[in-house]
């Protein structure tokens, strides 16, 4: 295919050609970054979380008397166990993705303090007996807490419980003690210290910032007795078969409300908690999808409109070419090649622009580096879009009869 005539005719239409190139460049740059943002959000929404998400319902009980929780909690738990279909029940201080985050910084040396810059920030989960069963935690090493450890742990005036055992997640264990077993190691925040007795599969923190980072699984678990909980243990976690969950949740809320007339209850399935946490992200992702689709449509319309105009303008030229022996295929190819050239220049600029925008976003927003394959991916989709939108006008051009050459336009 001879491309010199194409250049010659493009030189005559410099402004429209430049406009199309700019439009494609901008579309390519926006598309790459938008798709990258969408993929990041989608992967955030699907973050793994090693608890029985489908089987857990929770009732949060607030406004109870802190002095009576020692007897109230066992009574409430017993009542919940009586509901048909309940597999396990326990109380905890919070749940993953519940936004109710209690963070603390621990060091690995006995002299570590909370304001040490070396210390590691983790989320604290205080759990009552049976929480491993109720949550469906997957134990990977060591053990969960025993009855004595639950009974012996309580809150005094300090913000950390008086116990010396902790269970950590696998990611946190690997981060704090790379290449070693975490069992028997100790977290310090003097005068408190906690020795790791077990490692569980990764459970998300109750809350993390807008973006998932390497810190999202930094969760730690501490035993806590009902009597020494000072109102911290407010989440009643009820585990059942997924199909029973809604009914059991309603019954559980009713039971707790009846047993604790002065308190405030709030029931939620775990799936709802998770969905609510990511609602922001998923609506942003849908918005980005919408923008991409409309943007590509507008770009395609632009190409269709301009090519149609060029076809109309060149009817006579096409007629002459057809008259002197060009096939319909030749005419089609002419317009397709022209579009390919314009799109190629556009995506070349667009890829540079996309890279630049990504760098800018990395500096000003919590954005990570875009993997290289997004650039050729964006380029490819614009090439395809260009070819698809030029097809109609090109076919119209190919159907110009040679006899046009003998008439005036």
């Amino acid at each position: 295919m001879e491309i010199r005539p194409i250049f010659a005719s493009l030189r005559k239409h410099r402004i429209p050609a430049c406009l199309i190139v700019l439009e494609i460049a901008l579309a390519c740059a926006v598309l790459c970054n938008a798709v990258f943002m969408i993929s990041q959000r989608v992967s955030d929404i699907h973050l793994g979380n090693a608890i029985d998400e489908q089987g857990i319902a929770t009732v949060v009980l607030r406004g109870t008397d802190d002095n009576l929780v020692g007897s109230d909690i066992p009574r409430n738990l017993a009542a919940l166990r009586g509901i048909a279909g309940v597999n396990a029940v326990a109380v905890t201080s919070t749940l993953p993705l519940s936004h109710n985050n209690w963070g603390w910084s621990f060091g690995l040396d006995p002299d570590a303090t909370i304001s040490d810059q070396k210390s590691h920030n983790v989320s604290l989960y205080f759990v009552g007996e049976g929480a491993d069963q109720a949550l469906g935690l997957r134990l990977l090493q060591g053990r969960f807490f025993n009855g004595d450890e639950y009974a012996g742990s309580k809150f005094d005036t300090a913000p950390l419980p008086e116990t010396h055992v902790v269970v950590v997640t696998q990611s946190l264990a690997k981060k704090l003690w790379p290449g070693q077993s975490a069992l028997g190691k100790t977290l310090y925040s003097m005068p408190h210290y906690y020795t790791v007795v077990g490692v569980v599969a990764d459970v998300l923190r109750p809350a993390f910032g807008n973006q998932a980072g390497p810190y999202i699984y930094d969760s730690t678990y501490y035993p806590l007795s009902a009597g020494g909980s000072k109102g911290v243990l407010a989440y009643y976690v009820i585990r059942s078969a997924p199909q029973d969950r809604e009914r059991i949740m309603r019954e559980a809320e009713q039971k707790l409300a009846d047993l604790n007339p002065g308190a405030v209850t709030k029931a939620q399935t775990y799936s709802d908690i998770r969905e609510k946490y990511f609602a922001d992200m998923s609506s942003m992702a849908w918005m980005l999808v919408l923008v991409c689709v409309v943007m590509l449509a507008v770009t395609a319309f632009g190409i269709v409109g301009l090519t149609s105009f060029w076809v109309g303008q060149r009817r006579r030229q096409i007629g002459i070419r057809r008259a002197v022996g060009a096939t319909r295929g030749h005419i089609m190819q002419y317009f397709q090649t022209e579009n390919l050239l314009l799109t190629s220049v556009g995506v070349a600029i667009g890829m540079g622009l996309a890279f630049g925008i990504n760098i800018y976003l990395m500096q000003h927003y919590e954005m990570s580096r875009m993997p290289w394959y997004y650039l050729p991916g964006g380029a490819l989709s614009l090439w395809l879009l260009g070819q698809a939108s030029v097809f109609g006008p090109a076919q119209k051009a190919a159907s110009v009869p040679p006899v046009v050459a003998t008439r005036s336009v």
Binding site: S283, V298, G302
Partner: protein
Amino acid sequence: MFAYYLDLALRSLKRNKVLTALMVLAIAVGIGASMTTLTVVHLLSGDPIPGKSGVLFFPQVDPENPARADHTEPYPAMDYRSATDLWNAHRADRQALVTSSPVKVRAPETGRPPLILSMLSTTTDFFPMFEVPFQYGAGWSAQDDANHARVAVISADLNAKLFGGANSVGRSLRVRDTDVRIVGVLKPWRPTPLFYDPWSQNFSKTEDVFVPFTSSMEINEGNFQAYTCWHVPDDTHHLQNSDCVWVWLWAELDSPAKASSYARFVADYAEQQKAMGRFAIGKEHVRVRDVMTMLTARGMVPDDVRLQAWLASAFLAICLFNAVGLLLAKFLRRSGEIGVRRALGASRRAIFSQCLVEAGVIGLLGGFFGWLLTLTGLWLVRQQPVDYAHLAHVDTAMFLTTFVTAVATSLLAGLIPALRASRVVPAWQLKAL
């Protein structure tokens, strides 16, 4: 002449309906997307208390000791001692201590189930300072503050929930375990963003119960939470003497002279505390910012919204390129007609203005549909699970901006094509006829 051009423009637009529709659509979509996000950005970065934001100041000191090396700004809250020291000095025209905590609230007489609400602990000046509107009653007095009076002001929302919106002044409310007397009921009040608290980008509702600072320390003892601590408190239930920041101070200073003298006063205080060994950093970390400066410093507009605004601007640019290309195609297709008109005596100017009128008509149509799309877009934003959703409404200013932007955009887009069209050489076109 304008009427004639308009007639020509309409005829020409009718001649090729598909192309016209494409152009109008391109402009409308670009305008719709960009105006939707710009409206949201405009509303989010608005002044929460117009008229007074220049005289309300948020003093900050840095009580952290020892100071962290990576800590270049003071926390947006104070420790109890610094806040009360500065408040007790009464150096401002009006001043308010503020902190919030969750609390259980019941209205025993109504028999309704208890609620867990957010309670604002503050001092008497809070209401006049922030121009809080009252439906019934009024705020409490300075005497009430000093006497730890058991009184409360409630929000319109809570009044509707508990008392069906009736005048509830004089009725009693059980806040945790203490009975307090309602002295005031607010009208619906929702400053946006919620500027008086330390959390950035907070577009949530105001608190539902307002109680004198001194009384609330007793009523809700143990339930106050720290913004942050630099030493582990010995007793989490008593933050008064802890190394934690959890109280915010506001000062109203009616003149620039008072503002600078107040800033000096806070700096002196910080220096004096440093000399005493309580602060590690003195006046270097003192900030006395007015409302808008403080909001800008802590970042008003959420990242997602700023990203959307960027995206929408890129989108508008794409639509603009599109419109220019299509207009160019449209005008140059009529080169023959333009050639004839030029040959018959029309000046370049006349051709140029005729083309611009046509571009303007497309702009108006695009602006109209763009405005409809903006309304749809804002409706979509209102359906989003974000706490600023309630704000997304078009105001008159934004309505006018949309239209002006649309027409300006399409006139701009029409400029190059119109110039090109007016340069058509009549002789060539006449030959081709």
